[in-house]
């Protein structure tokens, strides 16, 4: 890339910062815009951003180096990010990677000499039902194979726009073909349930809500026994109540659409097919807790949905469902803005998400205080996930009892599940709470499943003996991901993929998570390389327990789960790989000293 005239560059960066009102809290937006304009955020640009926003350069550098889609080094004008998740590996990641490398003439981690194409790996991009998938200049490309990869690279080299390539390869189903989305992504929405995909009259829930007092709305959510759909399962009504009672000059409603858990893609489908329901939920949450401001935190992987979502918001403003005196309720003003992330799994953790929205590194905060007490800008903040807020709108519209009737008594409602891996019909299913794994396997066409990873890598890996367990809070709670692993797979390869994911995505703040996950990953590698002993299996279990019990946030508290649950449920797979000796050196002594033996004419006596 040609060096830019510093004066010109400084002026351009000033102009970019201006579009974000020169606010320090909008640092992520500023650096994202710089990255997108120049393909990098260089040392010089970091200095200029710091000067313009009047903050230290280390804060800017700290942010640039934290997020995956920001970099000091140049990417290509058309950056290709190939997803390396476990399902992608199952469905042909290696073959596609090779085809990209051969046709682009560079290895992953490099940029072509003309600065056109760069190749990088990236963590799950939320397309597990159509893997392998890649983000190319921000647009998702799905169902890739070697031939398609070569065709894409040839098209880019021939000067075709990325959108033209998408159009050539065909647009996806449902709203993916909408003029404001025009994406090849598929929803694969195979089962529409009554709660999230039932017929919805726009504004109906909101009008009902504003006819009640805010406390009455909270009571409805409490009565419906709704628990957060993100995975942790905290009672939603209680969270709303805590937030509404916290002291603050302003409250905020956050909709968490970070959806970084590999194998999860329910938020993507809800936001593509039913965004009004999600915004309706946010707005009535705003009414219930007394907040004028909602923020949808959308992961960068889903930024292709942004123009469409902005349009939905604009429509709602026109219809009086956003803005001043919402739904005709005098004095109830509510606005929603979309905050795009910059690539970090940890930002799905609610306090990390808030830090990121404040323009900081996406590190979780200590608790207490909880976000409902002190969140965004130190004010009471409600963070709910996409599905939770959508469900709230339906609860208010249809009444709590109707919602309860859709599930079990303890776990009310339905659950949106994203199913991927070795099954005939991967995609999104809205199913009643309480359904068994075995039932699900039969619905999706996976009767021969070896294992099911419930809840993504941070969940549990279970085998046949647990298939009669139920998806619900009193048995197997899940954020919604079910990855099916067929009998032909090497299960431990999947486990290793998950551990590499956690090593990559740990924020690095606390020691057990930052270091411990690396230790687990290297121990797994040792076992795969044939140097493992029984002691190594015991170590895996011990170390996993330590990491879980000492880590600061949910990432480290769950990251050892893939190892711990497979050690319990599939122990024989590990035992096949280890040696019975109590201790074994981690390397091959004979090979290591072969050169020396040759040179000295000696032979190694291992007896």
């Amino acid at each position: 890339m040609q060096d830019l005239d510093p004066k010109v560059l400084a002026g351009e960066i000033k102009a970019i910062a201006e579009t974000e009102d020169n606010k320090r809290t909008r640092l992520i937006n500023v650096v994202r815009k710089v990255q997108s304009a120049y393909g990098r955020v260089s040392e010089q640009m970091i200095d200029m951003i710091a000067q313009t926003l009047e903050i230290s350069r280390i804060e800017v550098e700290g942010v640039v180096s934290f997020y995956h889609f920001l970099s000091e080094k140049s990417t290509g004008r058309v950056p290709i990010y190939l997803n390396n998740s476990a399902v992608s590996e199952m469905m042909g990641f290696e073959e596609v990677k090779k085809a990209f490398e051969e046709s682009a003439g560079i290895a992953f981690g490099q940029v072509t000499a003309d600065g056109l194409i760069s190749l990088s790996e990236t963590s799950c991009i939320g397309m597990s039902d159509q893997e392998p998938a890649a983000l190319i200049a921000g647009k998702p490309f799905v169902n890739l194979n070697a031939a398609k990869a070569r065709k894409i690279v040839a098209g880019i080299k021939a000067g075709k726009s990325v959108q033209a390539l998408v159009d050539e390869m065909g647009l996806g189903d449902g709203n993916n073909a909408h003029p404001l989305i025009r994406s090849m992504v598929n929803n694969n929405l195979r089962k529409k349930g009554p709660v999230l995909f039932g017929a919805m009259a726009k504004g109906a829930a909101l009008r009902k809500a504003v006819a009640m007092t805010p406390q009455e709305v909270i009571e409805q959510v409490k009565a419906a026994k709704l628990r957060g759909r993100g995975g942790a399962g905290f009672p939603t009504g209680m969270k709303w109540e805590f937030c509404s009672r916290s002291k603050g000059s302003r409250r905020y409603v956050f909709c968490n659409a970070d959806e970084g858990e590999p194998g999860t893609f329910t938020d993507r489908v809800l936001l593509t097919e039913n965004p009004d329901l999600v915004f309706e939920g946010m707005t009535l949450a705003g009414y219930a807790i007394g907040s004028p401001k909602g923020i949808l935190y959308l992961r960068q992987e889903y930024q292709y949905l942004q123009p469409f979502l902005e349009d939905v918001l604009a429509q709602r403003r026109k219809e009086g469902l956003l803005g001043k005196d919402v739904a005709g309720k005098a004095g109830f003003d509510f606005e929603i803005r979309i905050q795009i992330g910059a690539g970090a799994y940890i930002c799905g953790e609610e306090s990390a998400l808030i830090n990121s929205t404040e323009g900081k590194r996406g590190e979780p905060r200590d608790r207490p205080p909880f976000p409902v007490q002190e969140g965004y800008k130190g004010q009471p903040t409600l963070v709910n996930n996409v599905e939770t807020l959508a469900a709230c709108a339906r609860i208010v519209e249809m009444g709590p009892q109707w919602f309860i009737d859709q599930g079990t008594n303890v776990s009310s409602g339905t659950k949106l599940l994203s199913i991927s891996g070795d099954c005939k019909r991967p995609g999104v299913y809205e199913l009643p709470m309480g359904i068994t794994i075995r039932m699900i396997l039969s619905i999706v066409g996976a009767d021969d499943a070896l294992a099911v990873q419930v809840g993504g890598p941070s969940g549990s890996c279970i085998g046949d003996k647990d298939f009669d367990r139920k998806i619900c809070f009193d048995d197997m709670p899940t954020g919604g991901a079910l990855m099916i692993i067929g009998p032909q797979r090497d299960l431990l390869k999947v486990v290793h993929n998950f551990m590499r994911f956690f090593v990559e995505e740990s924020c690095g703040w606390c020691v057990p998570c930052r270091v411990g996950n690396q230790m687990l990953e290297s121990k797994l590698r040792k076992i795969f390389e044939g140097h493992g002993t029984r002691k190594d299996l015991d170590d895996l279990a011990d170390w996993g327990r330590i990491i879980k019990s000492a880590s600061r946030c949910g990432l480290g508290q769950t990251s050892p789960n893939p190892i711990l649950t497979t050690l319990t449920n599939f122990r024989s797979r590990y035992e096949e790989l280890i040696k019975e000796d109590e201790y074994l050196t981690g390397f091959d002594l004979e090979a290591a000293v072969a050169d020396a033996c040759d040179a000295t004419g000696r032979t190694l006596n291992l007896a």
Partner: protein, 235 residues
């Protein structure tokens, strides 16, 4: 209502002022909870997790968890001490530490905790990372090899010295402390007497030409172990 809260640590009846963290409340009662990233006068951040205790049966970092009335705290138990040992061992394995030749040997909190917790050798494999040394400044250097990313220097610079001159870059295993200048430490306003320099618990931030002024044998933890001051009520 009283301004004092009652609690127990390992069965010992204690009392402390409202608003104290568990770690401070314990110290007020002569009970030492091992810790590394915590430092008096600085905002606690719970990054090292060495001070992990059980409060009412649940694990928590003592430095960031406020004391609550009637709390039952476990501190000096085999389980928690092994957890702490593991964390300290992780830090030894993660960086490149060379106690025998380090000028902070004897005054290093990491080393002192290793002695106190009876660590012989880490259970984890050494990682031998490549780490940078920032020796650009005329009188101070930062050795990444010995840095444990506790952030005490970052917080001290900001909170005590009023200078945003140090910060974290990277994430995961690549997290590092760095000076806020393209020219390294030489490009920032830092001097040997700054609190951020004194805050380093290990041998990562070093003032040049001061090594071995205090002979080995007379250093901070040579005669009494770390935490002895708290336990004798002299802290």
């Amino acid at each position: 209502m009283s301004d004092k809260l009652g609690f127990t640590i390992d069965g010992k009846e204690c009392e402390a002022d409202k608003g104290r963290s568990i770690l401070e409340a314990a110290a007020d009662n002569g009970v030492y909870i091992p810790h590394l990233c915590f430092m008096k006068k600085l905002r606690p951040v719970g990054s090292c997790r060495v001070c992990t205790i059980k409060a009412n049966g649940r694990n928590a970092a003592a430095c960031t968890t406020p004391l609550a009335d009637g709390m039952v705290i476990e501190n000096n138990t085999d389980e928690l001490n092994d957890l702490r040992r593991a964390i300290i061992e992780m830090l030894f394995a993660e960086g490149n530490h060379f106690c025998p030749s380090c000028e902070r040997s004897g005054s290093c909190e990491l080393q002192a905790l290793a002695y106190r917790l009876n660590i012989m050798a880490p259970r984890f494999p050494y990682m031998f990372p490549l780490r940078k040394l920032d020796a650009t400044h005329k009188s101070i250097f930062i050795d990444g090899n010995r840095c444990i990313q506790c952030g005490r220097c970052v917080r001290a610079a900001s909170e005590l010295d009023g200078k945003e001159i140090l910060g974290f870059i990277g994430r995961g295993g690549k997290v590092r402390v760095k000076a806020s200048s393209t020219r390294g430490l030489a490009g920032v306003d830092i001097s040997p007497n700054d609190e951020c320099v004194k805050a380093c618990p290990v041998g990562s931030i070093i003032v040049k030409e001061t090594a071995y002024r205090v002979p080995i044998g007379q250093r901070q933890y040579d005669a009494t172990p770390i935490g002895a001051d708290v336990e004798s009520g002299k802290a």
